[in-house]
């Protein structure tokens, strides 16, 4: 992945507009968060292959970035995004990594289901 170039990501997002697409959305602070620090809770959530259509998608912020996708009946939202790539299967991958290189948040868009 490379550091986010917001103009390029915006162009990539536009390609998915008004199409039925699949998303992978996750956020996590690690399964061991509570084990390593008594004050912390282990918190994570993911949706794999959520099937959505959005009519407007924007990237905002200034490293880290936010992405919001407006759907007919709601929103998809991710905060803390730092890196991006178009992978070998032409999918748009966005992720937020901490200083240790660990994933804290990820949002992927694809026209085909994720495996």
């Amino acid at each position: 992945m490379q550091p986010i170039d917001d103009k390029k990501v915006q162009d990539a997002l536009n390609n998915y507009k008004n199409k039925t697409i699949y998303i992978h959305l996750e956020t996590t602070n690690g399964a061991y968060a509570a084990h390593r620090n008594d004050a912390a809770m282990a918190v994570s959530a993911f949706i794999r292959n959520g099937k959505i259509v959005f009519s407007q998608g924007k990237i905002t912020g200034d490293n880290p970035y936010r992405v919001g996708l407006k759907m007919d009946d709601g929103w998809v939202y991710a905060q803390g995004l730092t890196d991006w790539e178009i992978d070998t299967e032409e999918r748009l991958l966005l992720a937020g990594h901490d200083t240790e290189g660990r994933i804290a948040v990820a949002l992927h868009l694809s026209e085909k289901p994720f495996t």
């Binding site: 399964a31 992978d87 994933i103």
Partner: protein, 219 residues
């Protein structure tokens, strides 16, 4: 440590190296065959390398390769990938996993099984894997049950379980263990970049592998 065949059951690539790498290497060096049943590919791991070289989408294949490399280092010649998905083991039908592990036991007839201690695994996949493995062994006829070494990593493990039954010094296979941990590059690269004294602390922690012998109620 007179074993015929050892079956290791963990959910994530790298559990085997961190938790029992030295012990496994001791067995394989002594010519005892070791089979590793790994339930998932660690698809949802947080570590992507430091700096990150993997993505959520590329990590399954990378970790599969890292796992094969680690098995090679540890002398594990029989690796079974059970095809579950990281974080989801506890939500599967338990009976299905129990039956798969039971089939492995029937096929291999191991004298020893190593897994996680149920409810002392910290990660829900560890607990689910430990529960299914314990249940698979429990379902065998009493005289036919292999020994069951369980790894406990909760902070209150000694309070609840007492002292470990097996305290295994793995000084003699330490370099193999560290090499196996290194093979899981995406997961452990950051660890090896820590300052030397921190690394020494980690080495001390790696030197001993402790297990609790699972005690079945006498029914």
């Amino acid at each position: 440590m007179e074993e015929k065949h050892v079956l290791v059951v963990f959910p994530h690539p790298d559990d085997e190296s961190f938790g029992a790498g030295g012990t496994i290497a001791q067995f394989t060096k002594a010519g005892v065959p070791v089979t590793y049943a790994c339930l998932t590919l660690g698809e949802m791991g947080r570590n992507m390398g430091k700096p990150p070289f993997a993505t959520r989408e590329s990590i399954p294949n990378l970790r599969k390769k890292e796992l094969k490399d680690a098995c090679e280092v540890l002398g594990i010649k029989d690796l079974r990938l059970l095809g579950y998905r990281d974080k989801t083991v506890e939500f599967e039908e338990e009976e299905k996993i129990v039956n798969e592990i039971k089939a492995l036991i029937n096929e291999l007839n191991p004298s020893l099984i190593i897994t996680h201690y149920p409810e002392h695994g910290v990660h829900p996949d560890h607990d689910a894997t430990g529960r299914a493995t314990v249940e698979a062994v429990r379902q065998l006829a009493k005289g036919k049950r292999p020994k069951l070494y369980c790894i406990a990593i909760t902070k209150n493990r000694e309070t609840v379980l007492g002292n470990p039954d097996i305290v295994n010094d793995v000084e003699d296979t330490m370099s193999i263990k560290v090499e196996a941990i290194r093979a899981h590059r995406s997961q452990t690269e950051a660890m090896f970049q820590k300052p030397i004294d921190e690394n020494n602390r980690i080495k001390k922690w790696l030197k001993e592998e402790i297990f609790w012998l699972y005690q079945f109620q006498s029914i």
